[in-house]
Symmetry: C2
């Protein structure tokens, strides 16, 4: 446990939850890295498509970026409204479920989950890809680097969202500052030179046109550019991570992320045309990304260039962190509604949903390993989920405002405006989704389209499973108080020793009707038997002392077990007992050596565990299994309590406050 303390930090109490929550400063690195990193690949993705039409195509980046920024603005407004309307949790799942029904909510949740997992794999592998193209010596270690970064992000997030936000704030703010300075300098140059600044390092030649500028080309460029928007929904999914007033902190974080992202995207698009930067083919040697060309053109390959590109690489690698903040919180909500195993809803030692974090790490690690750390083929699968959940969230909000309008709550005009914003946002994201699907369906978006119903079916099956159990267990009336005679106690014993003595003594405490059962021949045909000896000892050491003090002496039954099984004859004996006394409960008292070390497991046969499991599974409802322990090492309850509840670290008044609150 010391190792866990070291790796994850000490166990946190519930009342420390509020202190663990984040503000806008930690919120941007914790929830915004994905969004900010998008600026590195969104414009480039659009430019690559446009590049097919040569300089004429690349000249169209302006209108396309304006369309993307308008869409981003609509998303910003509508998520702002969502956070205000759902200040405890405004994720697409909640919004869609509450306004469009459970099924729409689950579709949104599924789409988001898939997107979060893909984001981890794609984000890390893209970051490592950029890193290894900068430092080719690292190329053979691509997969190891990917898994190492994944492990780092997982570990930091298991320590808590606060830690992740603080630790990753250095590269985040360094990235914002350095690129901000660089782009501002570039803009100043462009303005002073009348829109045609001289590059310090000249970008390569424009590619020759191989296609005409068609509407289809522009739509595809828009669809590719839309990847710049993924990650914007993370804040609304993670409202639960912010300290009170959570809506205010979430609003600030969202505003910060969108503002920086908008500025970056606009500046990049403008400067790319001003400096005549053209996308290069990534599979050719000497490839330079658009941002790298741009930075070199503005300031040359000096120290600012290396700081900016270095922090960009770090932000790309760490962009997976957004998923680690969003995915576990989403899973927790879905699990609370019964659509995921309950473990996803339980906070771990650091008050984060550890099972969700681990599950995300395992799935993404599996994807990375399966693709050897090169996940280019996964990128087309990527934006579908995000835009599907955008659309459902907007539609849900539109229905929400419409309902408010009917109920005449809030100002009529205000609600009308809000409805208009969300409706427009919904239509815009729906159109974008259609464009993305059409443009990327064959390239891989069909995989997402196929995966969503599969995950959905799984969630519904899990829900049905829990619903059945809940239905079985629901208790309406008062407790039944008849048929409460003591049980018939059956004690399987292997030999007469202190273990058996302790079990028989415990049985006497529970009931006057006790039968000890001894299976003979369980050691096989060639073994010596001590059945007669046991019978003699039973008479002398059990029956006589019992009679002497007027206790009812337990019977000893010896049953030959030709097939060397204990469970078989024992179950048979219990069925027989029940046939003779149908309304009596049965308690099987099992004397058990309790294992204290790992080697104990190797040196014992695990019989007790198997017998107990079979009896519980097949013994019927009126049978209980009483395990009477014999521990092989001294019990240390205080150590367990201290480990589970590190109370000494807690001020006394807080403890009292808690006891009060529970009353």
């Amino acid at each position: 446990m010391r190792l866990l303390d070291l790796l994850l930090g000490r166990k946190l109490a519930n009342y420390e939850g509020e202190e663990r929550k984040i503000g806008a400063f930690e919120g941007v690195p914790a929830l915004g890295l994905d969004g900010l990193a998008s600026s590195a690949y969104g414009p480039e993705a659009a430019l690559v498509i446009l590049g097919a039409a040569g300089a004429a195509g690349i000249g169209r980046i302006g209108p396309i970026m304006i369309a993307i920024l308008v869409l981003l603005g609509m998303l910003f407004l509508s998520y702002w409204q969502t956070i205000a309307a759902y200040p405890t949790n405004g994720g697409s799942y909640t919004v869609a479920r509450e306004n469009l029904g459970a099924c729409a909510g689950l579709v949104a949740a599924t789409a988001l989950m898939i997107d979060y997992v893909l984001n981890v794999a794609v984000g890390i592998s893209a970051g490592v890809g950029a890193l290894t193209s900068a430092l080719p010596a690292l190329h053979p270690y691509t997969l190891q680097l990917c898994l190492g970064i994944l492990a780092l992000i997982t570990l930091v997030n298991l320590r808590g969202t606060l830690e992740a936000g603080l630790l990753f704030s250095v590269p985040t703010y360094l990235f914002i500052a350095s690129f901000g300075a660089l782009l501002l300098y570039g803009l100043a140059n462009a303005l002073t030179s009348g829109g045609h600044p001289a590059p310090v390092v000249a970008p390569p030649q424009m590619p020759a046109a191989s296609e005409a500028v068609t509407l289809w080309l522009l739509l595809r460029a828009f669809a590719s550019g839309c990847t710049a928007m993924t990650g914007v929904e993370a804040v609304s999914n993670g409202v639960g991570a912010f300290r009170a007033p959570s809506a205010t902190h979430a609003h600030r974080t969202l505003a910060g992320i969108v503002l920086v992202l908008t500025a970056l995207l606009a500046a990049i698009a403008y400067l790319a045309t001003a400096y005549s930067v053209a996308p290069m083919d990534q599979s050719e040697p000497g490839y330079q990304s658009v941002l790298s060309q741009l930075a070199a053109a503005v300031v040359g390959r000096g120290s600012l260039y290396f700081i900016a590109i270095g922090s960009l690489l770090a932000v790309l690698c760490l962009s997976a962190n957004t998923s680690f903040a969003g995915f576990p919180r989403l899973c927790r909500q879905v699990a609370q509604d019964g659509y995921l195993p309950r473990g996803f809803a339980l906070p771990g030692r650091r008050l984060v949903y550890s099972i969700g974090i681990l599950w995300l790490a395992v799935t993404a690690g599996g994807l990375l390993t399966a693709f050897g750390g090169i996940t280019d083929r996964l990128i087309p699968l990527f934006a579908v989920g995000a835009f599907l959940s955008f659309t459902l969230s907007q539609a849900g909000m539109a229905v929400h405002w419409k309902r408010q309008l009917h109920e005449q709550e809030g100002g009529r005009n205000g609600n009308c405006g809000r409805l208009a914003i969300n409706a427009a946002g919904g239509v815009a994201t729906a159109i974008s989704l259609a464009v993305i699907l059409a443009a990327k369906f064959v390239e891989g978006a069909w995989i997402t389209v196929l995966t969503i119903p599969c995950v959905l079916a799984l969630l519904l099956l899990i829900k049905r499973y829990y619903a059945q159990i809940d239905h079985q267990l629901i208790e309406e009336g008062p407790i039944a108080v008849e048929d409460l005679r003591p049980p018939i106690v059956v004690v399987p014993i292997a030999d007469w020793n202190r273990l058996a003595e302790r079990a028989i003594r415990y049985a006497w405490r529970l009931s006057p009707d006790i039968v000890a059962v001894h299976m003979t021949r369980v050691e096989g045909p060639d073994s010596e038997e001590h059945a007669g000896l046991l019978r003699r000892r039973w008479r002398n050491d059990v029956e006589q002392p019992a009679r002497a003090v007027g206790l009812s002496p337990p019977r000893l039954v010896q049953i030959p077990s030709p097939y060397r099984s204990i469970t078989g004859p024992l179950l048979n004996f219990i069925l027989e007992t029940r046939r003779q006394a149908p309304r009596r409960a049965v308690a099987v008292v099992i004397p058990a050596l309790v294992q204290a070390h790992w080697w104990d497991r190797l040196l014992h046969t695990g019989r007790v565990r198997r017998i107990r499991a079979t009896l519980l599974r097949h013994g019927g409802p009126d049978l209980a299994v009483v395990t009477v322990p014999w521990t092989l090492a001294e019990p240390r309850p205080e150590a367990v309590i201290a480990e589970e509840e590190p109370r000494h670290q807690r001020p006394a008044q807080q403890r009292e406050r808690e006891v009060e609150a529970a009353k």
Copy 2:
């Protein structure tokens, strides 16, 4: 379980044990394959050493083979006597332990165990090596072939020694018959041609001499040739596998094996000189083994040649089978004495010691995998163990006869003769052991010398472990009958439902003192609480109905758990309870959903298992855990009983006989 039935055959009852035992016919393939296969490599190993001295060296194979055969004869006589003296089990372990003390017995057992494991790895890889040199196309699949044959032998032996003997009898007797015919024909040729028969296919040239014929060379040749004797001890270790009268059947088997082996060795040595067969370098292309050259020289490469060489390959591959008969029986004896985990002493569904078989398969498989199926380097480690156990066994028998002589049992002369035989055998094997150690120490025998004390230490540690437990558990006097008041029952509940109702009802059956414990806040800081609702339901649905019929109403205690732990506060509560009532026992009644399918495990948190384990380990001796089950699927006790005890396959009179015998 259907799959297990298909793979391993139906479960066998104890009374079928006698029918499952083997006679001499199955004994030779079951226990003699290692011994017989030795004829393939023993003479060749000696010839390889002698070949360094050229034709002059190879001419000395006669005297060396005579020395080996004399030693074999002595081993035969002394093992014959051992089987007669220890008709239930005459393995080196038993003989050494009973006559030389426990430590000597364990050394013998350790040496044998190591030898058995090595024999499996070396036997299979040597066989596969011979096979792939005959069919080079198979060479890339060496390791797969090795593991496949290992799996086959393991499976057949898990089905039972009888099956192994029957299945492997075909190649065994085919080998004996074909080589018998071939060698007889060669002998007839040699005799009719005055000792210089004309070869059908001429063997290659004699190698040139690179060394002189020295005593050291002859000793090394003898030491290498001694590998021809490994496997002879297997019969005495496996006496338990024979049907009554076991000594007679074991004698016949031993005689059969040694007779065939002697004939083969003598004929091979004689014919090798007569036909001028010389050993070839195994690492050169076109390598032919001595037996292959010999067979080709006698009958040419016709059908008899291929039958003989084919059956030899099969016998080599299957020679590992001897270990599978001997190792589990040896482990069983050692485990019965407490030096190995008890599972090794339990017969499996087919009345063989399955754990020993599986352990042998796993260790040998590990060795094969580690060495990629090429275990040449293990061969020098090999004969040390066998000769160490030979020596200890002979020495033990000598002490045995000496004691008999003192006690004047049996005829004085007879015992004198027996003593002489075993003493001579012991001296001879001790000298051989010294020679083997000296000749092979650097090549690898030191590994065996180092491994033996490590295994020995492990066995002694295991014994000490069991002795401590036995000492703890031993019960001398009558059972204590005071302090038998009903326990205080603690029922941890999560909610008021049928599961909790069933647990409280069961608690009422056991004791009037019941406390229900409900931990609040275990779901984390952001969860909704239903503590108040539970208190209301408790008053209405539990306390009121109980009072109405005069039952003592169970108390409900709600404890806040700020660290979300259930075990910590529960243990704390139990410690508190015990402080207030120090002499009362405590029973914790745990309501448990019982899992019926594999997916149940994924959908539940496994909390019950963890709580039970911690309470049993740290709750102290007067605490018992009562598990009250709620099964998620219908119980099927009859199915379990039918699977554990397939009684329908058993005639009625046998069943009665068993019940009689148990009385």
